[in-house]
């Protein structure tokens, strides 16, 4: 026996020694990067905690001692909160997948068009993850290459927010260049030119760069790829109708008991509801507030499509309580539903564009009104005119309401309130309803940096002001 006897390689595991070498490897690596959209902390399972629970739209599951979500809801967030840690850590894990592709793909012999597309997809995804990071934490470390030696990780401190946004814009711009307008067959659902531009529009709007945002959003419209699902608002969310013409970019799921399913329909059904609401019961998460329920105008079809206020249990008793019904499927396994989670859809492009137009200058019954009304009409509501909305300021408030009900439970509410500088006013105005522990302050518009990441590199990673 000698060296050969002990020279053993893993049998059931692929290693970095033999990966990233062929076209197929990169196709798999890119799919692996898309998969990161689903992980906790990015755009999947727990994204509602940031977008919805933090806002006035919903509150968390009733739990006595586990305060992790309650801390978001009632503004006493702790630096050890696991969702905060997930957002930071899993976003960077996701970014690392993109960086590895971008660092390694250049020398590999792959058909140029495909190589370009893979690069575009990686940059698009990287931008999405950084967008979450910068909206959540403000200044964050900008890691743009694959880290193979963990000691390098100690070199990175927090980069200014502006640098991060600049990189996001650069990645999205380059992605938009590289990505195709559409796909066919098994590629539908990948990032497109339209998706890159639409997200870029949202990124620019978030920075109040209204004119450049308008350019991108208009360009999406001009691709002539998209339109509203006009049959009914609820139809957009149907499992049988996924990737429809209104869908610009979704987190894709598939049911069937193969680990590709969406947990939300089960997660959002009421606790202890048995099979009365959905097979395999509910987790009671993301409970709509009465404030949101009451915010829908009479006749708004979106209310019934999005929220239920009670259910009848197996014994025939009516159990009161709000719950999200926007995402619904009939799972064969718990937490395994076929619904996609929209990241951006065409209605958002229309409303963001309307917002940009209004910010450029109020025009009574101008284009901004027509885009807004296009969305309202689909919900079964009448047009708004300059009679009801007489000013730029009034239009802003109408937009705020319209976006809230149109995109309820699509994780936009909190970010909308922050980017329009309305979070403090709106939430403190409802402090009794939402039981704030502390009043909302400007510092609450970003979240604390995870304690574990400060502890591990105290010299470079600093805490956000006002966070304990």
């Amino acid at each position: 026996c000698g060296k050969g006897f002990i020279d053993l390689k893993p049998i059931s595991v692929i290693t970095t020694d033999n990966f990233y070498q062929t076209e197929e490897d990169f196709r798999n690596a890119v799919s692996g990067a898309y998969n990161a959209l689903r992980t906790g902390g990015t755009y999947g399972v727990d994204s509602y905690i940031f977008g919805e629970i933090r806002s006035d739209n919903s509150f968390p599951v009733a739990s006595g001692s586990v305060t992790d979500q309650d801390e978001f809801d009632r503004f006493y967030i702790r630096t050890t909160n696991p969702f905060i840690n997930n957002r930071w850590s899993n976003s960077y894990t996701s970014i690392a997948r993109c960086n590895a592709i971008l660092d390694r793909i250049t020398p590999v012999a792959i058909n140029d068009a495909l190589k370009n597309r893979y690069i575009g997809e990686a940059k698009f995804l990287r931008a999405l993850f950084y967008f979450n990071l910068v909206r959540t934490f403000g200044d964050v470390p900008l890691v743009l290459k694959e880290i193979t030696n963990p000691d390098e990780g100690y070199q990175y401190g927090r980069n200014p927010k502006a640098d991060v946004y600049a990189q996001i814009e650069k990645d999205l711009t380059e992605a938009a260049e590289a990505l195709p307008v559409s796909y066919t067959g098994a590629d539908v659902g990948r990032a497109t030119k339209g998706a890159a531009k639409a997200i870029l529009g949202r990124v620019l709007l978030t920075q109040k760069k209204y004119a450049p945002a308008a350019v991108q959003l208009k360009a999406v419209m001009d691709l002539n790829q998209y339109g509203l699902v006009t049959t009914a608002y609820a139809d957009f969310f149907k499992v049988s109708n996924k990737n429809n013409k209104e869908a610009i970019f979704d987190v894709q799921y598939r049911s069937g008991g193969i680990g590709q399913g969406n947990p939300w329909p089960n997660s959002f059904a009421p606790q202890n509801s048995g099979n009365a609401v959905i097979m395999f019961g509910g987790g009671g998460n993301n409970v709509p507030t009465d404030d949101l329920v009451n915010d829908y105008e009479a006749g708004d079809q979106r209310k019934a499509a999005s929220i239920a206020t009670s259910y009848v249990n197996a014994n025939g008793a009516t159990i009161p309580g709000n719950f999200v019904k926007k995402y619904f499927d009939v799972p064969t396994v718990n937490n395994d539903n076929g619904n996609n989670i929209p990241i951006i859809r065409y209605a958002d492009v229309l409303l963001m564009y309307a917002e940009c137009l209004n910010e450029a200058g109020f025009v009574a019954n101008g284009d901004a009104f027509s885009y807004l009304n296009e969305v309202r009409r689909r919900a079964g509501l009448g047009n708004l005119t300059a009679v009801e909305v007489p000013s730029q300021a009034a239009f802003r408030l109408v937009m705020e309401h319209e976006r809230r009900v149109e995109f309820a439970f699509e994780n936009l509410r909190w970010y909308d309130l922050v980017r329009t500088d309305r979070a403090i006013t709106v939430l403190n105005g409802k402090s009794a309803q939402i039981n704030l522990v502390n009043p909302v302050t400007p510092q609450n518009q970003v979240f604390p940096i995870p304690q574990s990441q400060i502890d591990i590199n105290k010299t470079k990673i600093t805490q956000n002001e006002g966070s304990n």
């Binding site: 006897f5 290693t15 963990p150 039981n435």
Partner: protein
Amino acid sequence: MKLSLFIILFTASQVNASKVFSQTITVSFEQVELRTVLNAIEKKAKIRFLYNYDLSGLSKKMDFSVKNAKVSEALSKLLENSGLRFHDMGNNLIVISPEKSWAAAGNAQQVTVTGLVTDDKNEALPGVSINVKGTSIGTATNESGHFSLNVPSANDTLLFSYIGFAPQEQALAGRTTLNVTLVAVSRNLNDVVVVGYGTQKKQNVTGAIASVPMHEIGDMPVSNVATALQGKIPGVVIQQNSGSPGRTPAIKVRGFGSITAGTSPLIVVDGNIVSASVFGLLDAEEIDKIDVLKDASSAAIYGSRGSNGVIMVTTKKGRSGKTRMNLNVYTGFQQVTKKLDVLSSQEYAEFAKDAANNAYLDNVAGAQISDPNTARPSNFLRYRYPRGDLYAWLNFDDPAKVAALPDHNYQDLIFRTAPIQSYQFSVGGGSENAQYSVSAGYLTQDGIIKKSAMDRYTLRANVAIKAAPKLTIGININPSYIVTQEVRTDGHWADNGIINAALNTMPMAPIYKADGSYSSMAELAAPYNLPGITNPVANITEYNSEFNQTNLLSNAYAEYAFLPNLKYRVSGNANLYQNRRNAYTTSKMPLNQQLPPTAATGSAFSEQGLSWLVNQVLSYNVSFRDVHNIEALVGTESNKVQYQSSNAAGNTFANDIVQTLNAAGQPASVSSQKTENATVSYFARVGYNYKGKYLFNVSVRRDGSSVFGPDNRFGTFPAASVGWRVTEEPFMQKLPVLSELKLRASYGLSGNNSFGNYPYTGNVGTTNYSFYNNVSTGLAISTLSNSALSWELNQQLDLGVDIGLLKNRISLTVDYYERITKDLLLSVNVPTLTGFSSANKNIGRMSNKGFEFGVNSYNLTGAFTWNTSANLSFNRNKVLALGPTGDRILSGSGVGETNVTMIGEPIGSFFGYKQLGIFKDAADLNTNPHDNTTRPGDVKYEDVNGDKIIDARDRTLIGNNQPDFIYGMNNSFSYKNIDLSISIQGTQGGQILNLSRRFFDNLEGGGNNLSIALDRWRSPQNPGNGKVPRANARTTGNNNAVSSRWVEDGSYLRIQNISLGYKLPKSVINRLKLEQVRIYASAQNLYTWTNYTNFNPEVSNYEGALTGGVDYGSYPLARTVTFGINVGF
């Protein structure tokens, strides 16, 4: 003191004296020592010689040959001119002595002394050597234990010695009859201990090696032998973290030797390297010896695997002679040792109402306790509590209804009195050329949690054959089969964990629906948003999991003696195990928040492990005039471990009739995997002693392991030790009270590579995605590679002293050790912005230092005997260096972060807030730092960093699981045919994080709580005991964060075993034509004194260095009472 050493050799058959001398023999030798010729004659003529080992004439080299000579003639010829003569003592015994001593004796006035020698059980001892002190005159007892000896003077002193017994001196003082009782000495210095690749005389041992007193554990009714070792060996911690039948306890030698690599010792059974689970396959009856190699010098011969110590198990081998058969049968029952005190239905109703009202008052302005449920907001439903709105009987406001509430004692419903039975049969014997030992066993044990059970079938055959004069071959083979009915006891009730469900479910929660199917708390939960805790009874009955384990341990060897002292041995071992588990959860099982029918789930798991090992050892020993004694060995070893497993799960079953996966609609998941590792090693050891006085030992092993990257596979592990038997020095002879004093010192290096199979590779994991319902294979790097990864090194210094007093009636062993583990194989936390949360590195240092004391004493040696053995061990563990930055490592167990490993502290300390008390009132709250949600009645935490706020930075060390010391003591008594043995055992100073209290001590009112909830804060006027916070359905003040509130003292003292035996008298035995019959009763785990509130103070649900001592609901220990009979025939 001069130790006269006699060698007494017995032969198999009896031949009378006249026959002895009339036998004829033929022998022929060239240039051999006289003693070699004597040995040859002894064997051929079936006689035994008795002579002083030190006689100089014995080493005389000579040519000798006789042909068909009578024995007497041959002896005369042999001893001619040797200065020796022989004397026939009768009874086939021939004494050889110097001519002059007989001459001297002949001149004196001779006195004949007669007598009887017996053991402490009053049984005659044949073959005891008796020697007149200061002379070579001697004899031995005959078959009936009697002796007769002519001594020079009636004032002489006789020395009685016998292997396995303490030597005894008796001054005649004029007596001519003398009856003597010898005391058995289990730790006699002439005993051998098993060391790596060989054995060593106990007196020559220079390392820290402890032997398990097997006679103390023989009666213990345990389904895992390792359990019986608890408290028996200084420095060895055995922790029964689960009472599940057959479960192997955690075993640690001299503290935690590693952080993230393995911490359990190497287990070697008859030279075969096996996993600790082997203790579940062995019956104590099958084991001859267990020796524990604790220090680096004795463990370093195992190189890369010796760093956590080595446990050497030797099974019983056959002996030539009469066939011996033995049957040991016991039967008994087991019961849970304690039950927890939880709230009754009436107490719970009051408590739950208080919790709901407090949450309502806290959060809703203007709220009144009198507000009906309908007036309380629905957007947080735990403001409401049962008031007859769902079921009329469930009304916490109506005292009559409360009084009438059903009160299920769920603990009574899950525990039972469970039988245990064991049958162990063995037969052994053989001839001069072949010896065998065969044993078969059957053990059946029901667990104290209903349905759990184990049946074990074992067989062992050990055969040794002398195939040629110089060649011995042997085979040891040990197949076994175990069937276990598993129950899911541990963990969260949401995962159907039985224990936490039983303790946490509302005491009035229904067990069954009206139609007889299972219900659960979920039936009552919905309108009030209580947790839908699973049904503990259904958790038992509706989960079927049978685990089948088939094991085959096998070993074959051949030993060729080129010369009597130069041997080559080749040994091959193969261990094969195949395990299968079929598990099924029926559709009748209430799940978390779900009432049946639910979706049935099934799984099928199988695994196979094959480990084979081949070693070759060449050993040589030589003695130069008994002054320079050398033992040496060199060897090689190759080992390969191959493991494969497959697992499939299905979840769409049409009904519960067929519970295997063929009935599942489609498999939900299917996976299989294969791994392997290999080690190749070279080793050598040299032992030298000068007159058995100065002892030296050096060993080295070089190991190559596939576990590490190509450039770092080989490691070298040297060790050395020295010993000085001070009592061998002339100047010590004047201290007769001190019969043995040995000083020992050792230092060595051993390694640790138990860190997975390929820890150095960067792995790419599967991360699939589906584009428009089309599944697309996704791959992503999941671990960072580190080609530099290599051995974890363990340096250990051991200083020891062995003391024997009063002819070794009292023996004491003390060891001090310092064990430094460096280049720790550590899964280091790294900044997650790298894309990874941890990376495997060799980094950090840790120390374990400690004292160990072991004492054995034969207190009374008369008709009534009393022996005591006791041990006490101290270990102090400290982390010296960590990671690249020295940052602490926080580790999670059941929830969040619960443990911390930081420099200067013991590994895996508990981490959390420190409770100071309870905020008495608003004034107390206003004058002390608090969480921003805190109200009066909430927990007051210490502001550790002094910044006047309570936040995550105030978390600190709040305890540690590692005890200050551990101890054990056994007292054995015997009088005539009755024997009694009492073992106690305990630990002192360790703490437990009772994390299960987040379920049943959370004061939320959502589930049942421990009855300490009655001592809660209710108002400033009624503040309770100052430790338990107020009831609140929506916890405030971070009350249920991990804190010292849930850290408890884990010290305990346990009566580990009491056994009482009775040996049937000889007269009865003889009539039954049996060798011996003993009946006995044994009580295991009889009583435990502890302040710990949960079931078992030894518990650790997350066994591992970083998260030790966390209790999250575990299978409790049983108290076992058995009655047995042991028959030899």
